[in-house]
């Protein structure tokens, strides 16, 4: 009984921490950027921070189940959805900041860039996937969708690959940081190797 209460408390504390850090960073980012206190080009700073933040959170969300397995602590899985939701939140901020502050509501340019620039196209696709996962993330939807839910949510691995590609293609010459991120993606996908192999055998 006592152990159960402790677990619930721990999960609650973890969730609170995730809320606090994710929101605090995002709010301070926009306040500082609005007041021109974020380097010479606040637009670039906001785009970099929200972009890499979304990627970090996505990686973190995919680290949850390997960690839970390793430490045999299944309660950890209860924070996975929240981390995923914040990854989408950051990705959405990234996209909306690009629209509002980079191209500044030049819709023609916005649509053109999404269609014509491969690195932006794959980034956009990743946001669309994360959006679909977000709106189907509630337990009610999970029940309603039955087996399809898991199929849809395996799309997170596709999103992960798109995000990695988006980062790798977006840099000018400094590919080392994106390469480190790709290595982290491969590491996390390695834990799902059986699942992924099964897809390929089926098709």
């Amino acid at each position: 009984m006592a152990a159960k209460v402790n677990n619930a408390h721990l999960v609650f504390a973890l969730k609170l921490t995730i809320h606090f850090i994710s929101l605090f960073l995002l709010v301070t980012l926009y306040i500082e950027a609005a007041n021109d206190q974020l380097g010479a080009d606040p637009v670039e700073a906001v785009l970099h921070f929200t972009g890499i933040g979304a990627f970090n959170l996505l990686l973190l969300s995919l680290l949850v189940s390997p960690l839970a397995q390793q430490f045999k602590w299944s309660h950890l899985l209860k924070v996975r959805r929240l981390i995923g939701l914040y990854s989408f939140t950051y990705a959405l901020c990234h996209l909306l900041s690009f629209l509002a502050f980079e191209v500044q509501f030049d819709w023609g340019l916005f649509i053109n860039e999404i269609i014509e620039r491969p690195y932006i196209s794959v980034g956009m696709l990743a946001v669309v996937i994360l959006f679909l996962l977000t709106i189907t993330s509630f337990s009610m939807m999970k029940k309603k969708m039955g087996r399809n839910w898991q199929t849809l949510h395996n799309g997170v691995y596709v999103a992960l690959c798109f995000v990695a590609l988006h980062f790798y293609w977006s840099v000018k010459s400094d590919v080392i940081e994106p390469s480190i991120y790709i290595a982290m993606c491969v590491f996390l996908l390695y834990f799902r190797r059986r699942k992924i192999r099964r897809w390929f055998h089926r098709s």
Partner: protein, 334 residues
């Protein structure tokens, strides 16, 4: 766009005390870094971590006041000095825009030697003091358009490259001019580590056709905002070619060589499909990965500044330079 003026003081001097000190920007970036949320390399970077402890102990790069007569000005709003000197692409000191201001403060520029050699009858070597004394210094306010689609307006101090080349007396074989940045991995962390330097093969090299180099707009800059250049902006001497993308304007130059054949240029070697030899500002020719039709002008506004403006052919200097490319297909020679 350009008008010649004769006045004693520079138009930016009134506003100098209104701008934010650059340490504010640097501190904010440091604060973000401390929150440990800037990606994997920040975690691996011992250089950055050492910075947190040594930052207060280091003295910033010293700049001296320079006198120059204003010759070219504009009525466009200037980019505040604090932004000009904290937002730099100078991969020798790191690939992030704020890396150079953080990593270049210990850069030694005195003594310095700049040699003018190759197909010339009178090779010249300029020492540190000569850079400021050999030619009358002018102040010129130029637009700087980066290939990444942002731009600034900067009051440079310098002298026409043509003055120096004439003094060296190029011979009839001289067709191009090749420039080279200092190679000193001990001082420039980007040159000793491929990770910090963005995977570029150093030294950084650039080039111009001789007629481009001799154009009166082409400037060798030794200062900005009334003082000698900060290290992060390419001290002690750099090129400024205002109708070309910023990467042509090579920093911290040690060698200028008059040559017969088209010289190799760093970004062209790295990605020939993305960066040509000419690199003239051209809204008609997109970078493969983004549009060049418009740009964000960096001034004093924050996130909500509406600063996206149309990009002009030759960055608005067509009147002075378009004739150089009269019979050329600029889509092919981008």
């Amino acid at each position: 766009m350009i008008k010649n003026i004769t006045r004693k003081s520079s138009p930016w001097q009134l506003t100098e005390n209104q701008v934010t000190d650059e340490t504010v920007y640097v501190n904010r970036r440091q604060a973000l870094k401390k929150m440990g949320f800037v990606g994997a390399t920040a975690l691996l970077s011992t250089h950055t971590q050492a910075d947190w402890f040594t930052k207060t102990a280091t003295t910033p790069f010293a700049r001296q006041a320079l006198t120059a007569s204003p010759t070219i000005t504009t009525d466009e709003a200037l980019t505040p000095e604090a932004k000009v000197i904290s937002h730099n692409n100078f991969y020798e000191f790191g690939t992030a825009k704020n890396d150079p201001v953080e990593n270049a403060q210990q850069f030694k520029v005195n003594p310095w030697q700049l040699s003018i050699s190759g197909q010339v009858d009178n090779p010249i070597t300029l020492d540190y003091e000569d850079l400021y004394k050999s030619f009358p210094l002018e102040e010129r306010i130029y637009r700087l358009r980066c290939v990444e689609a942002w731009s600034m307006v900067i009051p440079w101090i310098g002298f026409p490259l043509a003055d120096l080349i004439k003094k060296a007396q190029p011979n009839s074989k001289a067709k191009y001019v090749a420039f080279e940045t200092l190679y000193d991995p001990k001082q420039m962390p980007g040159q000793s580590s491929r990770r910090i330097g963005g995977g570029i093969d150093y030294p950084y090299v650039e080039g111009l056709r001789l007629d481009e180099a001799m154009n009166p707009l082409t400037l060798l800059s030794v200062g900005l905002y009334g003082k000698t250049l900060p290290a992060q902006n390419g001290a002690p001497i750099r090129l400024v070619v205002p109708w070309k993308y910023g990467f042509k304007s090579i920093k911290s130059i040690v060698s200028i060589k008059l040559v017969e054949r088209i010289p190799p240029t760093t970004w062209n070697i790295l990605a020939p499909r993305e960066y040509g030899f000419y690199a003239n500002v051209n809204p008609q020719v997109d970078h493969p990965r983004w549009s060049q039709a418009s740009e964000r002008r960096i001034t004093s506004g924050g996130l909500f500044a509406r600063n996206r403006i149309e990009t002009l052919p030759f960055n608005g200097y067509g009147e002075q330079v378009a004739h150089l490319y009269k019979n050329m297909d600029l889509r092919k020679h981008y």
